[in-house]
């Protein structure tokens, strides 16, 4: 109140107070946040499942290749006999199926082969009988047309391995299916400048 009686002093006090206030207001403000900033992680991408190598296609037991029907398994006969063992019936059924699925195959020669073990004549006859037995099975059980098949025994004349080892002799005892006649489609194409192909002739011929 005393100061108010002196205007100069009052103004001085006001100014000092004002300065103090503004100085305080300009000081740093300290604050902290009690509520934390929550960061929720993202689930890491699962490791991609290793892509399994596609299983190699099992080797077919019966395949048509060029001029042969190749069997990757042996036809089993009873020892010194033309009787086909039951274990080979399934294989022969598959041969019949393949023949019927390939109508372009017109003629097949069933060839019987033997190892050098035993007499030549015996081997010749045995291989011939075995080839006939296969033919009979394919026509009677497999449903293959008779005129599609012929059979012949070659004895030991066409070995594919050494007859000096048992392994080689085993390889030589075999039945082969040789395609002797089949229909082949010949196609003539014309290729223009742009690389486009145009079939100009297509004909079926016996090979």
């Amino acid at each position: 109140m005393h100061a108010l009686r002196n205007p100069s002093r009052a103004i001085g006090l006001f100014a000092a107070g004002f300065m103090l206030l503004t100085t305080t207001a300009c000081g740093p403000i300290v604050f902290s946040d009690d509520a934390s900033l929550a960061i929720v992680g993202t689930a890491p991408e699962p490791e991609p499942e290793p892509v399994a190598e596609p299983a190699p296609e099992p080797q077919k037991r019966v395949e048509v290749r060029d001029n042969k029907i190749v069997i990757n398994e042996k036809i089993q006969f009873k020892v010194n006999s033309d009787k086909i063992q039951e274990v080979s019936h399934d294989l022969l059924n598959e041969v019949a199926k393949v023949i019927k699925e390939n109508p372009q195959i017109k003629k097949i020669e069933i060839q019987g082969h033997a190892s050098a073990e035993g007499g030549d004549s015996h081997n010749m006859k045995l291989s011939d009988r075995r080839a006939k037995a296969v033919k009979k099975y394919l026509t009677s059980k497999g449903g293959v047309a008779k005129d599609h098949l012929s059979s012949k025994g070659y004895g030991e004349t066409q070995p594919i391995a050494s007859n000096d080892t048992e392994d080689g002799r085993e390889k030589n005892r075999r039945v082969e299916f040789v395609i002797t006649e089949q229909e082949v489609t010949q196609t003539k194409v014309e290729v223009d400048d742009a690389g486009n192909e145009k079939v100009i002739e297509e004909k079926k011929v016996n090979g």
């Binding site: 100069s8 100014a15 403000i29 604050f31 900033l37 960061i39």
Partner: protein
């Protein structure tokens, strides 16, 4: 005496001009700064996700302290502070993520801020 009064008034006016009274209060300063920090949440989550890739199940806190510069609003002197329990690499990443931020509108006072990031793994699903 008159001279003293005049200069005192002038000084006060000058100071008041340099420091507006529209300066934020503490709560507003905190709220605005938090909102500013949240603009970098994606970067900070990326820091955490990186750590999670090497250390699944990692949790922890990073306490950050920094200054919001008056007049420019720039966040400076960012540092991980005591109380941080997350690995140092995550602390460093968080600090880097906050660099370059600036509060707008800028305040007339510096802000000495402390914030805590709490990291928690993704909910099991």
């Amino acid at each position: 005496m008159r001279k003293f009064i005049s200069s005192t008034i002038l000084a006060s006016v000058a100071l008041s001009m340099g420091c507006s009274f529209i300066a934020r209060g503490e709560d507003q300063y905190r709220t605005d700064t938090r909102a500013l920090l949240e603009t970098r949440n994606a970067d900070i989550r990326a820091c955490y996700d990186n750590e999670l890739a090497n250390n699944p199940g990692l949790n922890g806190d990073v306490v950050v302290q920094f200054t919001v510069e008056k007049k420019t609003g720039t966040i400076t002197n960012v540092a991980a502070a005591e109380g941080s329990s997350a690995p140092e690499s995550l602390q460093t990443c968080v600090v880097s993520a906050l660099e370059g931020l600036a509060l707008t509108p800028e305040d007339r006072r510096d802000g000495q801020a402390t914030f805590t990031y709490t990291f928690s793994g993704p909910a099991a699903g």
